[in-house]
């Protein structure tokens, strides 16, 4: 085929990551531009029941690779099977969602196939056959445009950075005979934080910093709940032991791109800004009118967060009915 696009659609526990649909949507756009077909592949166990969901975003063919060894992510088994899929499909572009596991897979796959890789892209452009990706570097302080040279190019796309676009495709489901090879990594256990929306996929994030003054984040959780969002934190709040590491937003934490980011009691240190600069709308709530966060926010409220945040929650509930 070699002018087609292959998307590796990530699922966990039988549910697709949102970025899987974003990748298929973007894959469709690229495939149309290249004049090739869009193949989406899903790895796991029992995934044939969900595979059809990928048709909604325009997949021409959907490959299901099912194997007990693929039930849980293991980079060696996954890389082997994806490399085999690439060999069969022979795409021009491979798209992966830049989740923690997606980035891991993309890196090892690129090395195995000796193919150029653009990690954590927020934009992809094709000029003729030349692929240019836009990706944040220096923690988002700078955007780099990188061109990838080769007949096979890999891009890992940042969750929430590409839109969803429904379209129709034949969505023909085919079984791919997966051979995980001789994996060295052995699964022991998985623990998921249940009921939590992952920060990288959240449409709304309410973050708290040192201004929270302690580990009681109830008012932020209430606001996040009202907005169907997730709670994040600055590094200071994590260092204080108020919040887990996995909640940290910033240059040494998570980079997030929600539609709305509400920073409460966060001063706006450059390392924090790095992690949330690609949010669409930023709101700051801080009692210090000179706090640097205000210069990097679309809207600000100067005030005590313990008064302002509950009041915002009340108003949100009114609007949302």
């Amino acid at each position: 085929m070699s002018n087609g696009v292959l998307v590796i659609a990530e699922q966990i526990d039988g549910v697709f990551r949102k970025v899987a649909f974003e990748a298929v949507s973007e894959g469709k756009r690229l495939a149309e531009q290249l004049g090739g077909e869009l193949t989406a592949a899903v790895l796991g166990e029992g995934v044939d029941t969900i595979a059809g969901e990928l048709a909604r975003y325009g997949a021409d063919t959907i490959l299901t690779a099912q194997e007990p060894a693929l039930k849980e992510f293991a980079v060696d088994a996954y890389t082997k099977v994806v490399a085999d899929i690439v060999a069969q499909v022979d795409p021009s572009v491979v798209l992966v969602g830049a989740t923690m596991t997606g980035k891991d897979l993309a890196a090892r796959l690129a090395a195995r196939l000796d193919a150029p890789l653009a990690m954590d892209c927020i934009g992809i452009r094709l000029d003729g056959d030349t692929l240019t990706a836009t990706r944040p570097v220096y923690g988002g302080k700078v955007l780099a445009e990188v061109t990838l040279t080769g007949t096979l190019r890999i891009a890992a796309i940042r969750p929430n950075a590409f839109g969803l676009k429904e379209s129709t495709g034949p969505g023909k489901i085919e079984v791919f005979a997966a051979d995980p090879g001789d994996p060295k990594i052995r699964f022991v256990e998985k623990q998921m934080e249940t009921g939590k929306i992952d920060l990288t996929e959240a449409e709304v994030i309410v973050s708290g910093g040192r201004g929270m003054g302690g580990s009681d984040y109830t008012i932020l959780e209430d606001l996040a709940d009202a907005l169907n969002g997730a709670v994040g934190a600055s590094r200071s709040a994590v260092d204080e032991g108020w919040r887990p590491h996995s909640d940290q937003v910033g240059q040494t934490g998570k980079t997030v791109s929600p539609g709305l980011y509400i920073a409460c009691g966060i001063s706006g240190a450059i390392q924090h800004l790095a992690g949330m600069s690609s949010a669409k709308v930023v709101v700051a709530i801080n009692k210090d009118p000179e706090a640097p966060i205000f210069a990097k926010s679309d809207y600000g409220i100067v005030g005590d967060l313990f008064e302002v945040v509950p009041a915002v929650t009340q108003e949100v509930k009114k609007v949302k009915g």
């Binding site: 849980e72 980079v75 989740t99 923690m100 980035k103 891991d104 090892r108 690129a110 090395a111 150029p116 890789l117 990690m119 954590d120 240019t132 944040p136 570097v137 220096y138 923690g139 302080k141 700078v142 955007l143 780099a144 445009e145 990188v146 061109t147 990838l148 040279t149 060295k184 990594i185 052995r186 699964f187 022991v188 998985k190 623990q191 992952d198 996929e201 709304v204 590491h245 996995s246 040494t252 709305l260 450059i270 390392q271 790095a274 930023v282 709101v283 205000f294 210069a295 679309d298 809207y299 600000g300 409220i301 008064e307 009041a311 915002v312 009340q314 108003e315 949100v316 609007v319 949302k320």
Partner: protein
């Protein structure tokens, strides 16, 4: 246990990054350079493993420039035993796979049980080099590790995944990449700094390690650097009370920004 730590020198995270006149590089003058924070976790973990295992060596390995010697000295002052720096003009424009190829070529000449790398370098944020080195050495790797325990030639790792953690076992030799939460890196002590001055830093060119410049020719090239769009409005919501401000904020988010 012999451990190799892949260490990159990067601009300190508090740096303001400005774009050079060529539009493809950053201004490097007046920047403060440090060990990549994720590689600091790797150095710390290596030192702790060495101590727990009751011996062995911790070798720092970097591809860099003359300036990188400072970062390596800092790592040696933390307690690493020796360092290797690959310095070559041809390596300066290498992409992640090119850097990995250089690192793997050096590692092939050394004995080691474990390789530790950062999950990402906070300059290019590429998340590539660690897994790529493991692939080139044909050894397994586990990324984003927050806890590891070595027993009988294998390592049990807890790694982060989106929304949770995964515990996996892998036989040695293996490569691990670090995630915040793994440890708290120590500061170099004064005696450590004194000792580090006498520790060896072996500097090699690509030719020394048997690679030609062509072997690291990049397939990923930066064609332009841009500053992200600045937020313009920066509107402070006024009001007589917290309630009034809150009501106005929610109104604009709902009606104007349309994000609620």
């Amino acid at each position: 246990m012999d451990i190799i730590v892949l260490l990159k020198q990067v601009p300190a995270t508090e740096s303001v990054i400005s774009i050079a006149d060529d539009g493809k590089h950053i201004e490097t003058e007046n920047l403060k350079w440090v060990i990549n924070p994720y590689d600091e976790f790797a150095v710390e973990e290596a030192l702790q493993i060495k101590q727990k295992q009751g011996g062995g060596t911790v070798t720092l390995l970097s591809v860099g420039t003359d300036k990188t010697v400072e970062a390596l000295r800092t790592g040696l002052a933390m307690g690493a035993d020796k360092a290797i720096l690959v310095k070559d003009p041809a390596a300066e424009e290498a992409d992640g796979l090119g850097i990995a190829r250089i690192l793997a070529a050096v590692i092939k000449t050394l004995d080691c049980d474990l390789i530790l790398a950062g999950q990402r370098a906070v300059d290019d944020d590429a998340y590539i080099v660690g897994p790529a080195v493991a692939e080139m050495l044909d050894i397994p790797h586990i990324a984003m590790v927050i806890k590891e325990e070595i027993t009988d030639g294998a390592v049990r790792c807890t790694r982060t995944i989106d929304g949770g953690t995964l515990i996996q076992d892998v036989p040695l030799p293996a490569l691990l990449t670090t995630q915040r939460g793994l440890n708290e890196p120590r500061y170099a002590s004064l005696p450590g700094i004194m000792k580090a001055k006498k520790k060896p830093i072996d500097i090699r060119s690509l030719a020394d390690i048997g690679l030609e410049a062509g072997a690291v020719a990049p397939k990923v090239r930066v064609t332009a650097l841009k500053t992200p769009p600045e937020r313009t409005s920066g509107r402070i919501i006024e009001g007589d009370s917290a309630r009034a401000k809150a009501a106005e904020l929610v109104r604009v988010l709902h009606q104007e920004a349309k994000v609620i």
